[in-house]
């Protein structure tokens, strides 16, 4: 029964919190740039405003263009419901493991890329092509991170990995460091953050994600933006959960444990968001054709993480 309750809390939490996390990152970046910046709650207002506007759809668009925002939103939301944030005691936890999580995110990407190509403009195709290039390296890198975590803990289910680490079975491992680095690189790429993409610009020659969704307006755009916000929160939660699971309530923990879990989750989320803002203000964007090197590096780090497990075993 509790598992059902916490699952519902999680479903609402990720949607409710996501705009705040994004707004907070924007606000922190503005502060670091010496600007005052909009309040962290600005994304809520933006989303509400977009919902009130009529949606404009190009004549050449098919049903895919209209369905894609909802499919993307639902798939990212579903993925976010599965990552343990404040507790691992959730009904849906066994329905999907980390591999399925990667695939669920791929569903959203697949549809967004198709929607980008649907109208038949040059920008849409450009964005879709680049997004798929990034994904074709980021996705395997993430699976390799999953592989090394699964070798270490004997499971691919995030809840079980958390239980394994919290039981004190893991010391400081080189592999974990490499896997963390790979996951951070993947997270930056998948969320379109600097140095891969710049979330603050439109009409840059280098844009990726924004080019795909250029034709969207009104509620469709709201769905796409909300999906992007949830995805950012999801990755932050994933990094926090897998590599710093301390505080998460395990099955059997009472209400007090869950409250502690919630507080720990919020603390972790906002400190990681601050780190992201710091990182983004201190680094420059990369050329498009350097992506392959960056993400190929992430893939190799993931592979090294698995192989180092044996090297450290043998030494």
């Amino acid at each position: 029964m509790n598992a059902m309750l916490w699952q519902l809390v999680q479903i609402v939490l990720v949607v409710a919190l996501a705009p705040l996390v994004t707004g907070y990152v924007r606000w922190a970046k503005a502060r670091l740039n010496g600007r005052r910046g909009p309040a962290p709650i600005q994304p809520y207002r933006d989303l509400y405003r977009l919902l009130q506007k009529e949606a404009i759809v190009a004549h050449s668009a098919s049903w895919i263009f209209r369905a894609a925002p909802y499919v993307t939103f639902a798939s990212v939301w579903l993925a976010a419901c599965i990552v343990p944030t404040f507790t691992t005691n959730m009904v849906l936890a066994p329905a999907a493991d980390l591999i399925a999580l990667v695939a669920l995110l791929a569903v959203g990407r697949f549809w967004t890329a198709l929607a980008g190509m649907d109208v038949g403009t040059s920008f849409g195709g450009l964005g879709a092509s680049r997004e798929m290039l990034i994904a074709s390296l980021a996705e395997p890198a993430m699976l390799m991170v999953t592989f090394s975590l699964s070798l270490l803990s004997g499971t691919t289910a995030p809840a079980q990995i958390v239980a394994f680490i919290l039981a004190g079975n893991v010391g400081v491992e080189v592999s974990l460091g490499l896997a963390l680095a790979a996951l951070v690189m993947v997270a930056l790429a998948e969320n379109g953050r600097i140095p891969i993409d710049n979330p603050a610009t439109h009409l840059e020659l280098t844009m990726v994600h924004e080019a795909m969704v250029l034709e969207y307006s009104g509620r469709h755009l709201a769905m796409i933006e909300a999906a992007a916000m949830i995805r950012l929160t999801l990755y932050i939660a994933l990094i926090a959960t897998l590599f710093a699971p301390w505080g998460i309530a395990q099955p059997g923990a009472g209400a007090a444990g869950v409250v502690i879990g919630m507080v720990a989750f919020l603390l972790k989320t906002f400190s990681l968001a601050t780190t992201l803002a710091l990182f983004e203000t201190s680094i420059a964007k990369m050329r498009v054709f350097r992506y392959a090197d960056f993400l190929g590096g992430a893939l190799l780090l993931g592979l090294l993480a698995t192989i180092f497990l044996y090297v450290s075993e043998a030494v």
Binding site: V57, H59, A103
Partner: protein, 668 residues
């Protein structure tokens, strides 16, 4: 009885097609007959799958007088009968409408039932003689359909390469079975199962089988014929060749390596897994750069065969190591992927056929915007594209999930080659899966979305009733096989039990909809739950958005940053979509180079942009081989012009050599 009459009806249909091929209606009757026969054979397969009683067998006095033809259907045959005849049924229904558009249909229709017959006989064969004859028959009947449109230079070349590679495959399989039968010459599979092959014999049998069946399945570097031959045939035949015939090849591999051979060491599994990984990545890299829709699909077949072979290799390695539970898991994963691939690749090739019959083109450069003109084909193709891109909750994801799960268990083996090899193969598999999604976003986006790039595409009409329904049926299967994974693995468990010694069961803690291969805490997946839950979130999202906001919608011209272009050529093309990938992956592997020639200022000549690529397999393996054979032929040619003295000398030297061989052998 049902099976026998279905099999007998196929050659009769072929005969009928030859005799009455002039009449339009004959072709429809033949394909309808093929559909009925396939459904009957499918039903036959279904009754034998999971049967715990001894498999039925028949001995018929066919073939050479002292050899009888043995037939039998065990669980493995039954599973592949289901795969083959499901694809065959869909392709037959599709062909009723599709063959109307084929100019050379009288050269195709008679061979179609024969092709089905041959594939079914390979699966039912219970001795080497029937197996090899049917195998060769399968190659030849499909070859006839590949060269049916022989006026095209490309098709003739494809037929040529196909014939050579098919001969190579049989050339390898023949001695493999010969070695298993031994000098005593008992060619039945039952005798082969109990024969001890010895070290050298076992080695040769495994190697020759992997080469022979692997060349038919399309393992890199023996895949070269596949992307030439599969697209050259009419689309309903391509669907069968790619979706189904490659499975017959894998059946041959499983039958020999896991059933007849019986004592394979883990090294073979490790090697096969590596080959599978390389095949998967190379196949999808070729696919993602193709411009021809059918070639793209054929290369994607190479990729998927690679994925299935990863699972198969892993199963052999686990079995060789004595870890039978994990071997069962890997084999179930591999078989699941074969089932899935036979469904969605047939669907995609039929979709390509529908596009060709509606527009007359198969080059991505002139297609576009077809989803609005052909909603049925477009939607069915979308399901197939999503399934092959391994997106949940469709079937492609389940099998890749299972293969990844079994790979994640691979490093537990006590061999360093596996500890280091398995992560590399896992990385290959992950890369292949991600690139497949890219490949099919490109293929679907360029073909079905955007604006039409030619008048033919702009005026396309959706295909006829039967063609639509055959695609829709396969699309529904893609969903069904994805959301009831445990039902499928339970059925596959019957197949793997005799091969690995144990069955495959999901852990009992979670129950039916949860696919949890090793234990409940090891990681689980439930397509059923995920789909139901995803659909509810989808509905909630739509409901809330329409409740909170406005429902107004306006159709307008595309915005495109304020400067939209009317000309469809300004859209992204297949070439421009592939360009970043070509730069990232093609530079070293395919030696992809781009050359831009800009005319001098004031010069009115157009600027040109040329891309050059080299196929490493052709330039590195096949062309040197051809040159070597030519060189040898040139030099052996001299032997034709010797004097009588010369010939006598040669005979004498040969005799001396042979006597030496005999002498040395007696010494040993």
């Amino acid at each position: 009885m049902l099976i026998a009459s279905a099999l007998l009806s196929l050659p009769l249909l072929a005969l009928f097609a030859v005799l009455a091929g002039r009449r339009e209606v004959t072709h429809s009757i033949v394909y309808a007959g093929c559909f009925v026969a396939s459904v009957a054979l499918f039903g036959g397969g279904l009754t034998y799958l999971g049967g715990h009683s001894a498999s039925p067998s028949w001995i018929l006095p066919l073939g050479l007088p002292w050899l009888k033809a043995h037939f039998s259907i065990d669980n493995l045959s039954a599973l592949f009968l289901l795969m083959i005849n499901l694809g065959a049924a869909a392709a037959s229904v599709f062909a009723i409408g599709y063959s109307q558009h084929l100019p050379q249909r009288r050269r195709v229709t008679p061979f179609f039932p024969l092709f089905l017959l041959a594939m079914n006989l390979v699966l039912m064969a219970d001795d080497a003689f029937v197996f090899l004859v049917s195998w060769e028959f399968m190659s030849l009947s499909s070859w006839l359909m590949v060269v049916s449109d022989h006026t095209d230079e490309e098709n003739r070349k494809a037929g040529n390469v196909y014939l050579i590679m098919a001969a190579f495959g049989t050339f390898c399989l023949l001695p493999a079975f010969g070695l298993m039968a031994g000098p005593g010459g008992d060619f039945t599979f039952a005798a082969m199962r109990i024969k001890d092959l010895g070290l050298m014999g076992g080695f040769m049998v495994a190697l020759l089988t992997i080469l022979g069946a692997g060349s038919k399945a399309g393992l890199v570097p023996l895949h070269a014929w596949l992307p030439l031959a599969h697209p050259a045939a009419p689309s309903h035949v391509s669907a069968l060749m790619s979706g189904v015939m490659t499975k017959v090849a894998l059946y041959g591999m499983i039958r020999v390596l896991l059933d007849l051979h019986g004592q394979l060491s883990w090294h073979w599994g490790a090697g096969l897994m590596m080959v599978g990984g390389i095949t998967a990545v190379m196949g999808v890299l070729y696919a993602v750069l193709q411009d021809d829709l059918k070639k793209l699909l054929a290369y994607s077949t190479v990729e998927n065969i690679g994925i299935a072979v990863i699972g198969l290799g892993l199963a052999i390695a686990f079995k060789g190591d004595g870890q039978v539970e994990l071997a069962a898991l890997a084999l179930v994963a591999s078989l699941y992927h074969m089932v899935n691939h036979s469904v969605f690749k047939t669907l995609l090739f039929l979709g390509a056929g529908a596009v060709i019959s509606a527009t007359g083109h198969r080059s991505l450069t002139v297609l576009g915007g077809l989803l609005k003109r052909m909603p049925w084909t477009g939607t069915a193709f979308l399901v197939g594209a999503a399934a092959i891109s391994a997106l949940p909750p469709l079937n492609g994801f389940v099998s890749e999930w299972l293969i990844l799960q079994s790979l994640f268990k691979g490093p537990g083996m006590p061999h360093w080659a596996m500890k280091f090899g398995v992560p590399v193969v896992a990385a290959f598999l992950a890369l292949a899966a991600a690139l497949a999604a890219t490949c099919f976003v490109r293929a679907y986006g360029i073909t079905f979305l955007g604006r039409p790039r030619s008048a033919d595409a702009a005026e396309a009409e959706d295909v006829s009733f039967g063609m639509r329904w055959s695609m829709a049926g396969l699309a529904v299967l893609c969903v069904v096989l994805g959301v009831i994974p445990v039902t499928v693995t339970d059925a596959l468990s019957h197949v793997v039990r005799p091969l690995t010694g144990v069955g495959f069961a999901v852990s009992a803690d979670l129950g039916w909809p949860w696919l949890s291969p090793v234990s409940a805490t090891r990681g689980a997946y439930s397509g059923t739950i995920l789909m139901m839950f995803g659909l509810s979130l989808f509905a909630i999202a739509i409901f809330v958005v329409h409740r909170l906001g406005t429902q107004a919608l306006r159709r307008a011209d595309p915005w495109d940053c304020g400067h939209p272009e009317d000309i469809p050529q300004t859209q992204y093309t297949s070439q421009s979509f592939a360009q970043p990938l070509r730069r990232a992956f093609g530079h070293t592997i395919f030696q992809a180079r781009e050359k831009v020639v800009m005319p001098e200022p004031g010069d009115m000549a157009p600027a040109t942009h040329k891309v050059s690529m080299i196929d490493p397999v052709w330039s590195g393996l096949y062309l040197p081989l051809v040159r070597g054979i030519d060189w040898i032929a040139d030099h052996v040619n001299r032997l034709q012009y010797l004097t009588v003295r010369g010939y006598l000398l040669m005979m004498f030297l040969t005799l001396v050599f042979m006597l030496l061989v005999v002498a040395v052998r007696q010494q040993l």
